[in-house]
Amino acid sequence: MSASDVAVLGVGMHPWGKWGRPFTEYGVVAARAALEDAGIDWQSVDLVVGGETVRNGYGGYVAGATFAQALGWNGARVATSYAACATGAQALDTARARILAGLSEVALVVGADTTPKGFLAPNAGERWDDPDWLRFRLLGMTNPAYFALYARRRMDLYGATPEDFAAVKVKNARHGLENPNARYRKEVSVDDVLSSAVVSDPLHLLDICATSDGAAAVVVSSTEYARKLGIEDPVRINAISTVTPTFPNTVLDMPNISTDCSGGREPDRTFKESIAHAAYEEAGIGPQDVSVAEVYDLSTALELDWMEDLALCQRGEAESLLRAGETTIGGHIPVNPSGGLACFGEAVPAQALAQVCEVTWQLRGQATGRQVEGAKVGITANQGLFGHGSSVILSR
């Protein structure tokens, strides 16, 4: 608890799915749910921050004003964030900064997306100077191929097996069974995963998250404002890390064709490690204090990487925690009690906010059917394209 905390007054989501409707509709549903959860009306909100997705294919971009207009112009200040998969957290950070500066009192942060089918691909046209275009044109390097590179390293370096990766899916599928906002709510067996088609060796179709439609919204305010509303013990945001990489970034990141040159001096931390490290520093806590984690399982194997990036265990030890059931609800450090991206699929501008929604429900003891008992501190983590990433720490 510190002077730089802000209070989470309300959270809400539109269920994830492949609904094929305009993203604004999802955003408004999530926003109204968050406002209702907060017990305040839309007219009281004096700042709207929207998460934007930078992908063409539909008319208009997601922006703060889109949601503000759809909810009915109320004169609130507006901001729009783009940070790839970290968009929602960056939007939340903007809201937090204005609140802590005393410039805004209550903020509504919304992210929503309507996604196309299949592999995420770059925009059309010939763009020989665009690395995101070139990785497809020259190499046929898809997003799952990057996930597969990380997965293969775990196998060759730490002895991970395809069965371990499948076990992550089995765990997350079970976690998400009762989650009303999850898109996939069905038990999955190790055999189901291993008998699904290999997309990029060693990853099977069921190791890789889908793309989804969905929306998430968070209402935040100063802790003082929360007290005025009679909320004495709100969930608090203790840290939002949105650090960029530090040169030299020596781990191959999507959509790059190459890394920086280390020149023989390896950095102290990888980019993903630095995202979490900055969050711990800002919150003044360490990984031993964390009771629940929501991490970006774009692939099953990536969840294991994240556990180590968040220092929840040593490098190479994630599989042994998984096998011992420690990352399952009821274990020592439950990971992705929401069901994670395995059960949701990815709705980019909404996803980082969805992680915050889940941790909020966990800390309030409202995660029916998937509750981590006695959760006090939760951490989220994700990484997106172009040097974006985030980690949010919440506590109660």
Partner: protein, 148 residues
């Protein structure tokens, strides 16, 4: 081979082909892909404000950082080389300079021929009828050839 490099200035095509990087003349940091000749270059080392670069041939051999394949046809702008589509392998390779570079794996090789830490060598092969591309080819020790 009459095909020209898919991107001019990214690699050489002689008998011992190599990737071409840009080396900052101020701090010696090497970058790949190289800075285009017709564009201003700015060193991305935050402690360096260099703007002059020289072409640097990168190591022709490196060790596999990781590898995978594409069992489904990637979306456009990828152009399939065969109909029906045939999967190909990909490798990220660490060079002595401390830079990891992605590439497809040479024709005829797949994930079974690779291992994290194994040695590979740069070769140039056709990307399509008009263009050539760099690829990573497993370095086969003498005596192992007969196993293939």
């Amino acid at each position: 081979m009459s095909a020209s490099p898919a991107v001019e200035g990214w690699f050489t095509t002689g008998p011992e082909p190599a990737l071409l990087g840009s080396r900052c003349t101020t701090c010696s940091t090497v970058y790949f892909p190289p800075t285009p000749a017709d564009r201003a270059g700015f060193c991305r080392n935050p402690a360096c404000d260099g703007e002059e670069f020289e072409t640097a041939e990168l190591s022709r051999r490196g060790t596999v950082w990781s590898y995978t394949d594409a069992q489904y046809q990637p979306p456009a702008p990828y152009v399939a080389r065969t109909d029906p589509y045939e999967p190909f392998a990909l490798a990220a390779v660490e060079l002595a300079e401390g830079i990891t570079v992605l590439g497809q794996v040479a024709d005829g090789y797949g994930v079974k021929d690779l291992k994290v830490g194994a040695e590979v060598e740069l070769v140039v092969e056709p990307l399509d009828d008009e263009r050539s591309i760099w690829r990573w080819k497993p370095v086969t020790e003498l005596g192992e050839e007969s196993d293939q």
